[in-house]
């Protein structure tokens, strides 16, 4: 499944609602993610009908924290593999791989497609372009994907993935 960023600015949430009650949700082709409150850092909750979709949502959530999604063009593809000892470990390792590409290889991504998924490993194709400071407004520096409170498990309406980023 190919997923695309919506141009909604997730950080602005619903005007007029108190911050805690307005987890700004971003929808894309059936999957969503939202930003969770944390005093010093930033939490992310992503959902999907399948584990693959939840992983795609989580990666898009991470991307949207870093850069305005509408500024990124899907021009070049890159393949990523990740493996974990269990579900939560896979989620953290997967997001770390994406973060590493962004941070060390200086790339930004517009789309994410998980092509293979089994317990607990995945392969994915990310499509994006080299980071260009003139066009890409970087929002946040994410230092790491932490294991604190990390979960990746079935939920009544599909799969749910939660992580906390160190910023």
């Amino acid at each position: 499944m190919q997923v695309q960023f919506s141009s909604t600015d997730m950080f602005r949430g619903q005007p007029g609602l108190p911050a805690r009650e307005s987890p700004a949700k971003l929808s894309y082709m059936g999957g969503t993610f939202e930003i969770l409150e944390h005093t010093a850092d930033i939490g992310l909750r992503a959902r999907g009908a399948t584990p693959s979709e939840a992983c795609e949502s989580a990666a898009l959530g991470l991307m949207s924290l870093l850069v305005a999604p509408e500024s990124v063009r899907a021009r070049q593809e890159e393949t990523v593999a990740a493996e974990g000892v269990d579900a939560a470990d896979l989620l953290v390792r997967w997001l770390h791989e994406v973060l590493f590409l962004i941070d060390a290889h200086r790339r930004v991504f517009a789309t994410v497609r998980v092509t293979d998924f089994e317990e607990w490993r995945l392969k994915a194709v990310l499509s994006g372009e080299p980071f260009d400071p003139r066009r890409h407004k970087l929002r946040e520096e994410i230092k790491a994907v932490t294991y604190h409170g990390a979960r990746f498990e079935p939920a009544p309406d599909g799969w749910i993935a939660e992580v906390l980023f160190d910023v």
């Binding site: 409150e37 944390h38 010093a40 941070d103 520096e141 790491a144």
Partner: protein, 486 residues
């Protein structure tokens, strides 16, 4: 996330509360949080106290699981956490107890300039700093090193950089541990860590990192201030940054490498982020050797940032280095694990002290305090928020007796980043700061929104507790004039 904590907090005295070890099965010792009633109110708002209890699970922990008054909710360890383990008693080292930004820290540089010379030109000065000091997400440095040179930085820290001309010999003496932890082994640092750190020496980064121009607005201890070359209305520069991408990757690599250690060494942990290995195990030693490289990289980074700032001041004020008097007062690490000698039940022991958002605070006459101010104690640098003030303190004997030579590291957040952005909507933090006489420049608007003064506790409440508890004593208070942020 963000739910209030309702566990037991027993007041021991006006500065400390205790989480008894009976609170949770698996705690090996009590938790002790340094806080008065005013601070406790905000500490109760999230799960930071639970994290203090979780750290008490670490094998070989000595004394209590400690938290400084700027404690706030982190991941794994609370921010503001201090834990000492005894390697001879199966004591562990936990990469999460240092954090991703290994040797994030602060340095304070004095100048011979007075408030009246700087305030009228602060906008232009901040503009010049902003132009010449790379800051913000993903910015690369003005100073470039080859991979071979980077290995020297990892092994030798500040000293190597100074020998290349980026500073003065006395800068090394005025840096914690001489700006270099021994037994750093660049060969255990992964290629990926090198890749993430490439080109980042002399870059500020984003988040709460900053270069701030400040002036002394209150002196508490004239003698100590005099020793540091500071007096009322004198201008100083504070720099806050860390080990950048290299440190983040070293920490991540270690957490990943240690994932099977709890099972291998029979360690039970309440939070996966606390993953650890015995200090004397192959995994523990390997992490220490890599962490020391990242710590040395961070010291070199702050040295390079100071070098850039000195250059900006020299060109801007058209003064010689001698007349400008930009001497490094001190540089402290506040995310680090170090092997240090401490007394436990009357016996000297070599302990592994984790400081996760805590500053070393060694008292007068400690051999690790630079000779020039050994009689007043180690400078303890406490940045506050952008709008209020920062403090210079000196270590007191109480820190050795109570906290393995540690004190607080900052104000501590009280508002989440998201809540801070919400609260800044339809406001201009930049203009609000300007109305208070502070000129701020940041790469993105969000940097200022997230870091607005209201997002932090009042640092004076934090410093008061540290002072009253006898961990460190106040020397002077600095007010911001201008700041650059990522």
């Amino acid at each position: 996330m963000g739910t209030p904590w309702h566990g037991p907090l027993e007041r021991l005295d006006e500065c400390r509360v205790r989480i008894p070890r009976e609170y949770k099965d698996g705690m090996r010792t009590d938790g002790i949080i340094y806080a008065d009633d005013r601070l406790l109110e905000s500490i109760r708002k999230d799960q930071a106290a639970e994290q203090v209890a979780n750290v008490a699970f670490l094998p070989g922990i000595q004394g209590a699981s400690l938290a400084m008054p700027d404690i706030h909710w982190g991941y794994g360890f609370p921010i503001g956490g201090v834990a000492a383990t005894d390697p001879e008693k199966d004591g562990v080292i936990s990469p999460g107890g240092v954090g991703y930004d290994i040797n994030c820290g602060v340095r304070l540089v004095r100048t011979a300039l007075g408030l009246d010379e700087v305030r009228p030109r602060i906008q232009q000065l901040v503009g010049a700093l902003f132009r010449d000091i790379p800051c913000g997400v993903g910015r690369e440095g003005a100073i470039r090193f080859t991979p071979e040179q980077e290995k020297h930085i990892l092994a030798e820290g500040c000293g190597w950089l100074v020998r290349q001309g980026y500073g003065r010999p006395e800068d090394i003496e005025h840096t914690e541990s001489g700006g270099c932890l021994a037994e750093a082994d660049p060969s255990v640092v992964s290629d990926r860590a090198y890749q993430r750190g490439r080109g980042q020496v002399g870059t500020l980064g984003s988040g709460n990192h900053f270069v701030e121009v400040q002036y002394v607005d209150h002196v508490y201890d004239e003698e100590a201030a005099g020793v540091f070359g500071l007096s009322l209305n004198q201008v100083a520069v504070m720099i806050h940054s860390g080990s950048r991408g290299l440190g983040y990757e070293v920490c991540d690599n270690a957490i990943h490498a240690m994932r099977s250690c709890p099972k291998r060494y029979g360690i039970s942990l309440p939070d996966r982020q606390l993953v650890c290995a015995p200090v004397n195990s192959p995994e523990g030693r390997r992490y220490l050797a890599a962490m020391r490289c990242a710590a040395n990289y961070a010291w070199a980074n702050r040295q390079a940032l100071m070098h850039l700032a000195r250059g900006v001041f020299e060109r801007f004020f058209k003064m010689s280095p001698e007349r400008l008097g930009m001497d490094l007062i001190y540089d402290v690490a506040h995310n680090v694990a170090k092997l240090e000698e401490h007394e436990v039940n009357g016996v000297r022991r070599m302990l592994c002290v984790h400081r996760k958002g805590a500053t070393r605070s060694f008292p007068p006459n400690h051999p690790e305090v630079p000779a020039r101010f050994r009689h007043v104690g180690q400078p303890v640098l406490i940045p506050g928020d952008m709008g209020r003030y920062s403090y210079l303190l000196v270590g007191r004997p109480g820190a050795m007796e109570q906290t393995f030579g540690s004190a607080c590291h900052g104000a501590g957040r009280t508002m989440s980043r998201k809540a801070a952005i919400e609260s800044a909507r339809n406001r201009s933090i930049k203009k609000e700061l300007q109305a208070r006489g502070i000129y701020a420049l940041a790469r993105g608007r969000r940097g200022l929104d997230e870091e607005q003064p209201d997002a932090y506790k009042d640092v004076s409440l934090v410093v008061d507790v540290v002072d009253r508890a006898g961990l460190a004593s106040k020397v002077c208070r600095m007010k911001p004039l201008g700041v650059i942020k990522g």
